[in-house]
Symmetry: C2
Subunit: 343 residues, 2 copies
């Protein structure tokens, strides 16, 4: 779905990381946060989630300049009770806040076998899947979700009263972690835009047109502002529950309290849960079982059947390819990044 008009080049992982790091330092980040934030943006791009990697960086920088993101603040512990903690994100950098929250959930899980961090007053976490890979890399089952600005009409209404509230679920596996990263809308606005640019129709109905008819036309859905929740009433219900839990557990804002302007979306609420599989699985059988489950899903029962992919599979393939061949970046985004960092 990429436009052929965009000039692309491939840069190495290290080149991209260092360019991002330089830019962040120039923007005023301290040394350690700059490295962590650059790492998260680089990994996201290398993993092929281009919409939330380098291509998202300019918009991220804009939210620093417009005061939405405070690069000086760090999260503050508000309440600690056993295996659960409530943190205040102090409107700091979204991906750094999220990374630290999952790190803390993992630490709590090492102590209590399960850990939960509820984070209020944070900013967009960029690629949610990052924190799933993070938990799985630590050998943990990871579950996290965020609320968002109102961008999804609930089932039965035409105005956006829900967020698309992405949820991430990750399971560690010897043959490659299984990491699901999905929003509650069938297609994100980013995906709708990508289909529109490529001139393609959506593969399935993605929302309503201005006349209230279901449509596969991405432009018509952008115009109506009525994307479909996954599973109609089911995704609508799930989005509500994710918002309720995030706001109630963190003591932060719910979707209806979040500014509806994407450039000013801030004060989000998030939840991070880690479960220490190794504590339960003392015989060490879970990894083998996971490989069998995924093997059963992806191996067709006969030679004429379809090959099914599992969540996270394409990320691993793309990561491997990009580490070898270099990470594809748009010339314009690369030039912009280099200009911020100076050279």
């Amino acid at each position: 779905m990429s436009s052929a008009l965009v000039t692309r080049l491939r840069v190495s992982y290290q080149e991209l990381f260092e360019a991002l790091q330089r830019a962040l330092l120039k923007l005023g980040f301290a040394s350690e946060p700059a490295a962590r934030c650059a790492r998260l943006f680089t990994d996201t791009t290398c993993d092929g989630v281009y919409s939330h990697g380098l291509n998202r960086f300019a918009r991220f920088v804009a939210t620093i300049h417009n005061g939405t993101v405070d690069i000086q603040s760090t999260p503050e512990l508000v309440t600690s009770c056993g295996a659960v903690e409530r943190w205040d994100g102090k409107l700091g950098v979204g991906n750094l806040n999220a990374y630290q929250s999952m790190e803390r959930a993992v630490a709590l899980a090492r102590q209590h076998s399960i850990g939960c961090v509820a984070l209020a007053n944070t900013n967009h976490w960029m690629r949610g899947g990052s924190y799933g890979w993070q938990a799985a890399d630590a050998g943990m089952v990871g579950i996290c979700w965020t609320n968002t600005l109102p961008n999804l009409p609930p089932w039965g209404a035409s105005d956006a009263r829900l967020g698309n509230n992405p949820i991430v679920i990750a399971v560690p596996r010897p043959g490659g972690h299984v990491v699901l990263d999905m929003a509650m809308s069938q297609f994100s606005y980013g995906a709708l835009r990508a289909y529109q640019l490529s001139g393609e129709q959506l593969p399935v109905n993605g929302g309503y047109d201005l006349e209230g008819n279901l449509t596969r036309n991405p432009k018509a859905i952008e115009a109506s502002g009525r994307p479909l929740p996954i599973g109609y009433w089911k995704g609508s219900g799930l989005a509500l529950l994710l918002d309720l839990m995030a706001a109630m557990l963190s003591g932060g804002q719910a979707t209806y309290q979040i500014p509806a302007d994407p450039e000013r979306e801030t004060g989000l609420s998030q939840v991070f849960i880690a479960i220490n599989l190794a504590a339960l699985d003392q015989a060490g059988l879970a990894g083998q079982l996971a490989d069998q489950i995924v093997g059963n899903l992806t191996s067709p029962p006969n030679s004429t059947a379809e090959r099914v992919r599992y969540p996270g599979e394409r990320v691993l393939q793309t990561r491997k390819e990009n580490l070898k061949e270099g990470i594809p970046v748009a010339q314009s985004a690369w030039d912009e990044l280099v200009a911020i960092g100076g050279s």
Copy 2:
């Protein structure tokens, strides 16, 4: 969607409870499990989830007679590590095992602020929502899910390699708990059958016909065995992750290991998580916030807009009505129940 040919009567909550209790005692249940199991079936029926209440009882009894459910066994603690426990359900009564597991998760959450019980070797939990209401009644956020026999083709395949793996999420709320109870298929086989009996088409595409075309015809989907996952690839991914987590955390069976015959479905894996909201929400603000979030969802922004329902709303309305007017039961199911219990 109820057939007009079925003769119905209304019985009081107490009448239904006592008839179920008598039947369970006759079937050999001990006194306390009989009361708890009767309570769960009565609540389910009273709450209007008729498919999993009295109407399910005959099939439940059949699984006792065919040896799938062992009414004498009680769950056994396998591993205890901090806030997480692994239990063996010993192929006992599914709803009793589930109830005890959520009770245990709630007790762990009182101690550690979050509790998690992973349960292996259990049987069908009947209405999953029961354990959500149970957690919310205890003031907890409750999350639980189960795997099932293979009954759902993953996105991209035509044979059932996934379960429809229902998940339940519950949040306590002064104005009425919010309880989501949903399977990963857009329509359960029970729902397909109900639409078919009523002669109605599904409101949205629910699966494929034998020719591989998406259809709203419930009979065609039953014939193909190809219901749709919610959100296509998204529900397919979520079903996989729920199965992975349930089997890996409990050390029990995954969907691919569970007998595909509904009459012999057994050895299920389930997870129960409770989070002690009160420990975090020391200022007691969460309830008010929950009421505001739900109020914002359900109150239309203007007089011409639609009234949206929240998950759990209809249950509360039906419960109230059935407690006042009596619970509607089919004459045949009632006669059968009374015959088991003797009178």
